[in-house]
Amino acid sequence: MPDGVIGGGWSYVIAAYSVTVAVLAIYVWSLSRRSRRAERSQRDES
């Protein structure tokens, strides 16, 4: 590796991409759960 280059960056890259995918997946799951609940309560009330 040439001088002056930050080494060992892949662990940070993997961490950043993993957190991104995990957080977005959890958010989509949360939307899906709330969507089902909202549809159910609307159906029950109508």
Binding site: G9, A16, V19, V23, A38
Partner: protein, 228 residues
Amino acid sequence: MNIRKLLVLAGLGLAAVGTYFGLFVAPPERHMGDVQRIMYVHVPSAWIAMLLYTLAFGFAIALLWSGRQKWDDLMVGAIEVGVVLNALLLVQGSLWGRATWGVWWDWDVRLTTSLVMAILFAGVLVLRRMAPNEERRSQWSAVATVVAFIDVPLVYFCVRWWRSLHQIQSSPDTVDPAMVLPLRLNSFGLLFLALAWMLWRAAIERSSRRASEVPLPTRVAIEESAHA
């Protein structure tokens, strides 16, 4: 196929190709090496979060102007997805900062204004839960959104206006084309996904409001017919 599904499919496709190019095709940066690949998720998160906050600001103005609830639904959708991306932006930036600056966090002007932006817009979502009724909830959150939006241009321009650890914005003219491609693909991919989620969240808000609107008169009618 509805618009949300189209946006999700397009977004996933673009993000998948962009991530492949970002991780495996784009060259490592001259000084930062491979850690610079965080840029391909960090910068799109920042751009799209700020775009969503700008949309939320527009929806808030439209809501205050017209009083129509559809703007409230869209506003809450834009803010919620914006806060998720804003939180991601801070975590990704912290990882990148640890690798390049040697610290997880610094009270630098760009980092601080980005944190304040997340807190302000998360505060709008908290404020909505405290409102006594639907009308107040819409008004309070629209006004709070307009106030919170003041921080968005500050986040963007602070690196030009004040001394900052964070670099100023690059332009495609100064970046290797092999780096621009994954950045653009991921940005458009995340944009499409974020718009789909914003519309989904708005639909949930609409359904919840209708469910809470319907019951009282319906229940009264049912009770009256039962007593008649």
